[in-house]
């Protein structure tokens, strides 16, 4: 994804670790450089993943610039292909 850093592209996570502390450790250990929502912050009744009908991890959702869903699934390579297709200048 390094080649996309100058494009209008963002990675956003929804993290399901038990505590933000555990998630922060994972971010540090794997040098992850994107921002993540807490899936179910303390005090929240429903997890984001429940609202989004997520049943398997990881799940990837690709959104276009209008936030329309363009891919939803578990295949990172396929999702990346969709992202690159969306970022290609229209010919």
């Amino acid at each position: 994804m390094e080649e996309l850093k100058d494009k209008p592209f963002a990675m956003v996570g929804v993290n399901s670790d038990a505590t933000p502390e555990a998630a922060r450790q994972a971010v540090a250990a794997n040098s992850l450089n994107w921002r993540s929502f807490q899936n179910k912050p303390e005090g929240q009744v429903r997890a984001i993943s429940e609202d989004w009908y997520i049943r398997g991890w990881p799940t990837i959702v690709v959104l276009d610039t209008e936030l329309k869903i363009r891919y939803r699934g578990h295949d990172g390579a396929e999702a990346t292909k969709v992202v690159k297709g969306l970022l290609e200048p229209e010919k």
């Binding site: 963002a10 956003v12 807490q38 799940t59 959702v61 690709v62 276009d64 936030l67 939803r72 970022l87």
Partner: protein, 262 residues
């Protein structure tokens, strides 16, 4: 001493007589089912014990292998139910009619090959299609192509439609038929809306809570999160507790990753 011996002899002589006089009641279908299910449980727990032992043996073997020893044979991925399956099928013959259905459903559950599953599904559809107890078979219809084969699923579906009376089977069949389109076509498309409308009637008639819930969830999921739909807002906190929103990223292509480090 002498008296004791006499009593023992008399008891040994009389015991079989007593048994003859009062024959044990023949096993009824319910008892037979319970006994076979207990046998199934035992087979599974024996197999689990073997698997644990094999894991321990594998650890040892790995050490021996380093010194040039032989590897141990692999354990099968599941218990061997061949004999038990035969017993379920025999019981289904012995207790015909509606009583046979639970035995056949058990046999279906432990079938290990496409042929074995096909045999039992055929028995259920050919001889028990009116049974109100076919929920387990009905719930398997969406997977029948993978459990047996696509060609067989097609034949079985035709059989169910031809029979045309079991509303539970017909409801799950409608779900199985519409699922592919509902998952692959955008919720705004005509194909999606047609598939939804066609299935909804049969599903409502089935009056099967699980079926209705699965169908409603699939439709809701696709109508909210299917391709082409605008993602709903996420308004939350990042890992440091700082608030942010998904709509902050409007104007960018977003790779939204549901992840965890377990």
């Amino acid at each position: 001493m002498k008296r004791t011996t006499t009593w023992l002899a008399a008891a040994m002589f009389l015991l079989p007589l007593g048994a003859q006089g009062k024959p044990a009641p023949a096993e009824d279908a319910k008892t037979r089912l319970r006994n076979l299910q207990a046998e199934q449980k035992q087979i599974i727990s024996d197999w689990q014990k073997k698997a644990r032992d094999a894991a321990k043996a594998a650890e040892k073997a790995a050490e021996v292998a380093k010194k040039g020893g032989k590897p141990i044979p692999a354990l099968p991925m599941r218990p061997d139910f061949t004999e038990l399956r035969g017993k379920y099928l025999d019981a289904a013959k012995k207790y015909p009619g509606e009583s046979a259905v639970p035995f056949l459903l058990q046999a279906l559950g432990i079938g290990s090959t496409a042929e074995e599953r096909e045999e039992v599904v055929d028995l259920l559809l050919d001889e028990h299609a009116d049974s109100p107890r076919l929920h387990e078979l009905a719930e398997a219809l969406p997977y029948l192509d993978r459990m047996v084969s696509a060609a067989y699923a097609k034949r079985a579906f035709t059989k169910i439609e031809k029979h045309g009376k079991n509303v539970v089977l017909l409801g799950w069949l409608a779900f199985a038929r519409s699922e592919g389109t509902l998952r692959s076509e955008p919720a705004t498309s005509k194909a999606f809306q047609d598939a939804k409308a066609a299935a909804a009637v049969a599903i409502a008639q089935a009056e099967d809570k699980k079926l209705q819930a699965e169908f409603d969830a699939l439709v809701a999921e696709q109508e909210k999160f299917g391709l082409g739909m605008v993602a709903p807002e996420i308004s939350g906190a990042d890992l440091d507790g700082v608030a942010f929103k998904l709509s902050d990223y409007k104007g960018k292509v977003v790779f939204l990753d549901f992840w965890g480090d377990w």
